[in-house]
Amino acid sequence: MKNMKKRIAAIMTTACLAVTMLTGCGKGSSSDGKPASAGELNIFVWTEYVPDSVIKAFEDETGIKVNVSTYSSNEDMLAKVKSESAGAYDIVLPSDYMVEQMIGQDMLAELDFEKLPNFKNIGDSFKNPAYDPGNKYSVPYLGGACAIAVNKDKVDKEIKSYADLFDPSLEGKLVVLDDFRAVIGITNKACGYDLNETDKTKLDETGKKLMELKKNVVLYDSDSPKSALISGDCDAGMIWSAEIALAMEEVPSIEVVYPTEGALIFQDNWCVTKEAKNYDNAMAFIDFMMKPESMVMVLEEFPYMCANTEAVKMMGDAYSSNPAKNPPAEAVAGGTYVGNLDSDVLEIYSEMWTKLKE
């Protein structure tokens, strides 16, 4: 018995040593062969949005070490950036309304377009957005719509609009984003109101309508909503368009539907935080991400709507003609962004969300 214990102890020690040695190796090899002076870059991005391969390519090209952290909602990101020490993140990737909010709170640094020559690749329709006039603080990355996914083999009802998702026949079959602005927004739409409705009597109606949706939704997931569709745990849902595209590749009977009410659309943007410690590296990264070649790598993994016209050309027809990957122009034109609300209205939204989740 004693011998046994000794042996186990020896094995454990060796294992520990081996592990520490391995980590040593890892660190050694990654810093080898790169200029030591290139420094670091801390980026804070959406989950399932920026492929590792592109980050690796950037590291190889510039020698800058990139530390990636991820979030799954704009509000999470805002809370984290505020609570971390100043300058913990150099780059963030907020959506439209959040860019506006962060500009309002003086959290973003102005971009230096001298260092961003690849900005020329961005399509004109994506430049100069209402949430950041003149692109002073942001350049567009990817976007898309909160579209409807339907598994045609399992759902008989024809689904054309957000309102159809409230149909009793879909009880216990839906996956929706775990995002209160999106879920309440589409409920507003289904009632015939504005996505960012502020009228309190109308919001009362929305609140009642939301209870119909409660019966239908079994899963709230923003991290990887496609998984439940692919595994067959859910048959329909309101999720990001590219997640639908990826689900379609796995399960051919899944289709994408752009709602007749006009979809909730979003555009995510590269921004640099006010307190960024590695401003020049951040500029290099953003410029790298606007190269058509980099965006092609991104789109192959995460086929969202792309602001980079040159990259779209390189992707060819398989991307452009797929409505889930490249939303049709009329769907985008008829879409609405999430807008910033006053805190008293936001409170009503928050209460509705609590009711939905209780």
Partner: protein, 292 residues
Amino acid sequence: MTKEKSKHNFRSDVLPKLVTVGPVTVLLLCLVLIPLILVGVMSFCRTDEYYNVVYKFTFTNYAKLVSPDYLKIYMQSLVIALLTTVMCVLVGYPFAYIIARTRSRKKKLLYMLVIIPFWTNSLIRIYGWRTFLGNTGWFNKLIMAIGISKEPIEFLYKTGTTVFGMVYCLIPFMILPLYTAIEKLDDSLLEASSDLGAKPVKTFFEVIVPLTASGIFSGSIMVFIPCLGYFFVSNILGGGNTDMIGNLIERQFKSANNWPLGAALSIILIVVTLLLVKLYQKLGGDMDDLGV
């Protein structure tokens, strides 16, 4: 202490005290007391239009806590926590009993079986269950292969699944105190009981259970309390449909960005915890068994 000066070579007892108790005190101050005070202070604050915390005194956060919606969620959490605790006792007791009463080398092995799952992050294990229990998961494949059901059974995203996940995560906290209590059982008492003609069932309920009650109590406390806060289990296995107090707190600190309200909710959770521990003490529980 001062009277025992002659026993050691220090002129004063300040240095030894500082060295021995100091680090722990500093650690506790920095990591427990100060954050706790911060939470307490924040719970009386408000937020501005950009959700920044403004240090102005208000009771509104506490007023919000008694809204019917929140009360419903508290009730729901308490029910789920209670169910989890009962399940843990029912499943954990026989297992702890077997480990404690095994006198062979298997004992170590059985004990390890409880500990080993701890080596993997519980989040990963819960995601594992989600894949395993899904409509096209292995469990349903097995059920259909054996012929129990022709259609896949929908296990996921129900309150029952949440309870299952909680039991799975928390059962070691029940088994370990139970094990300690059962281990202490005096064999001669059991012999006496059977000598006096008690059937095994009677011995169990009238001798063994009362003698191990402290283990059941402390196990229950250690399961019940974390259960209120394990928001990820209800998010992943429950599909985010049935909120618990933990989910409410998480949401206030993340997506809703209302830290003062989140702080007030945390204070409530702390108060509930303290009340439960107090109750445990009143009922004669030993604080050492809780490991606190």
